[in-house]
């Protein structure tokens, strides 16, 4: 099977007064539907790696393939389009837009793509929100939701555009452990059901244990 996501000897050096090497010779692949956890000590390069995969940043070495396409040096607008169409993000903080309702926030990736895409996906997104128990919170603003509810909206937003890969950087870092496990279980069950790949960064061993596979990062290198 062709891997959905494939990294080949990827390295990242942050320039600056003292250049920082954050990643070195990182190679791995993620298959469709696979749930992969990324763990490592603070400063080991987890966020850096996720940003590269998320096309928010560009590697200084190596190559990156997404859905069979080399996206290593893609131009800014193309990267925005790929993020919009192929990727879903869940961040540590929910980053919902305060001016929009839960439903509108969840629909935002589709709205960015275009009005037609939004109208076509509306029913599906609504169903997803109902599935995560937010059926009665559709028209609430983020400020009117609890932390766990906010993060569930963010999970649905990551799935709204029907992406190939979900990238989650400590999505439960801001939640208490009960909520953290709930959101994590949700992410896992939804993505399994919809057959999405997930790359999840976490500190929490018990959460990592639920993944199909665990990648360990140490000082910017993968250890096995």
């Amino acid at each position: 099977m062709i891997p959905l996501l494939e990294l080949c000897s990827v390295g990242k050096v942050y320039p600056g007064g003292v250049a920082t090497r954050a990643l070195e010779e990182v190679s791995f692949a993620v298959a469709p539907g696979e749930f992969v956890a990324l763990v490592g000590a603070s400063g080991s390069g987890k966020t850096t790696l996720l940003n590269l995969v998320g096309l928010l940043d560009t590697p200084t070495e190596g190559s990156l393939r997404l859905a069979g396409r080399d996206v290593t040096g893609a131009a800014e607008d193309l990267r925005a389009e790929l993020r919009r169409d192929l990727l879903g993000f869940v961040f540590q903080f929910h980053y919902l837009l305060p001016e929009f309702t839960a439903l509108e926030n969840a629909l935002m990736p589709l709205r960015i793509r275009g009005t037609a895409a939004e109208d076509a996906g509306r029913a599906r997104v609504r169903a997803l929100l109902e599935k995560v128990d937010l059926g009665d919170r559709l028209h609430h603003r983020p400020g009117q939701l609890s932390g766990g509810q906010q993060q569930r909206v963010a999970v649905v937003r990551a799935l709204a555009n029907d992406p190939q890969v979900i990238l989650a950087d400590e999505p439960t870092g801001n939640l208490d452990s009960r909520n953290a496990h709930a959101v994590c279980d949700l992410l896992r069950s939804l993505t399994k059901e919809l057959h999405k790949s997930v790359l999840l960064v976490t500190h929490d061993e018990t959460i990592a244990a639920k993944a199909d596979r665990i990648l360990h990062l140490r000082d910017g290198r993968l250890v096995t």
Partner: protein, 421 residues
């Protein structure tokens, strides 16, 4: 499509959500628009009044007979004949004679031909000096004789009447200024004696009194029938000048220059005679233009700085929108739309306030003369053009001002936002 629901909804929600900032920007734009409207209508109205006062009671262009210059001794026919001795030192007294246009109907016809358009009316006038007397009082006056119906189309005497009539003036009747009437203690129906500079005298009945607001007319003019003036001034069937009223007062100099090429007469226009008024108006225009430029600049800068602040506050949202796939262009459009919307709303508000203000000012009337004639205290020119100008300038400057903040918003790197949290 350039603008879709995404850009529109984000722009709109942010404006509504940050009500304070939106109202602040709106206020800045509205204030500057009100200021520009106010300034432009007031100065425009003032200038119109000045031009009106200057030109309403005089013909815009006047054609008169050329001045007769005395010949120099060497130009005298006798100078070529050696038989006639030339007396040096002999005083030659030139006869003071009225300069007249004998064949004026032909000149009027020629004027029609030379100026097929742009002329509102023409009138032939017999004008000269005289003295009006009643009992022991005497006052020097300018005698102005013309066919009233024609004269009033060039110089609107009829609508400046304080009493009596001008149109349909009969032989033996005269219209005088109200100050002259006061000086001589004259009322409608009184008789006066007029003695002209040609030593002809006649009696006239006061049929009308005018209040033009122009001192020389109100104090020392006597308007007569053309025939009466011609006989008082010994003109026969001639006139002394032909006055023209133009559709566009500012066309006067150009028309004069043109006529000078074709007609062997002396031609004057009001613009040449009123250089100081015109240069005053020009200076006023320059300074009001400068004030407008600075107002627009100030409001543009204020809009820009408020928007820069708002972009700074929104940097997280912008970053997240970009992370989930919004393109730089889309972000740019969002903020440019906000600038456009706020400036357009501010311009509308400013125009409304300006209109109310100018309308109220324009309604204030004050009595300006002894006959009870009233006029606007502030001669506002409350015209759509000025509103269009002010609104247009505000919208253009506001949109330009929002471009920098919009551009900087579009440059936000999502990675910094995600890392920052």
């Amino acid at each position: 499509m350039l603008i879709s629901r995404f850009e529109l909804s984000v722009a709109r929600r942010q404006l509504l959500h940050n009500r304070g900032q939106t109202l602040l920007t709106l206020g800045v734009v509205a204030t500057s628009v009100t200021l520009i409207v106010f300034l432009a209508t007031l100065i425009g109205g003032l200038q119109r009044r000045i031009i009106g006062d200057t030109t309403s009671m005089i013909p815009h262009v006047v054609v008169s007979a050329p001045e007769r210059l005395p010949l120099a001794p060497w130009e005298l026919p006798s100078a070529t004949a050696p038989a006639a001795p030339l007396f040096v030192g002999r005083v030659v007294k030139l006869e003071q004679r009225l300069r007249k246009i004998e064949d004026w109907p032909a000149v009027v016809a020629r004027l029609r031909e030379l100026m097929p358009g742009g002329v509102a009316a023409r009138v032939a006038v017999a004008e000269g000096q005289g003295v009006v007397s009643r009992e022991s009082n005497r006052k020097p006056v300018t005698l102005v004789g013309a066919v009233p119906a024609e004269f009033t189309r060039v110089v609107d005497l009829q609508s400046n009447l304080a009493a009596g009539r001008y149109l349909g003036l009969n032989g033996g009747e005269a219209v005088i200024g109200y100050k002259l009437a006061a000086d001589l203690n004259l009322r409608l129906g009184d008789r006066v004696r007029v003695l002209s500079s040609e030593a002809v005298s006649a009696d006239f009945l006061v049929a009308g009194i005018v209040d033009t607001g122009i001192a020389v007319i109100d104090r020392s003019s006597l308007f007569l029938n053309l025939k009466d003036a011609q006989s008082l001034l010994n003109l026969g069937s001639a006139v002394t000048r032909i006055g023209l009223r133009l559709d566009d007062v500012f066309d006067a100099s150009r028309q004069r220059e043109r006529l000078e090429q074709y007609l062997p007469y002396e031609i004057n226009d009001w613009m040449r005679d009123n250089q100081r008024v015109l240069s005053g108006i020009r200076a006023q225009n320059d300074s009001s233009r400068m004030i407008i430029v600075f107002t627009v600049l100030a409001s543009g800068l204020a809009v820009a700085s408020i928007m820069v602040m708002s972009v700074t506050r929104k940097i997280q949202e912008i970053g997240i929108l970009k992370a989930i796939g919004a393109k730089s262009r889309q972000i740019l459009v969002i903020f440019a739309l906000q600038g456009l919307a706020v400036c357009a709303a501010g311009a509308a508000l400013g125009c409304a306030v300006g209109w109310v203000l100018c309308d109220a000012l324009g309604r204030i009337e004050v009595v300006v003369s002894a006959t009870g004639r009233t006029a606007q205290l502030f001669p506002v020119a409350n015209e759509p053009f000025y509103y269009g100008l002010a609104a247009g300038l505000a919208v253009v400057s506001g949109v330009l001002a929002s471009l920098y903040p919009a551009w900087s918003a579009s440059r936000v790197d999502p990675i910094h936002v995600i890392r920052g949290q």
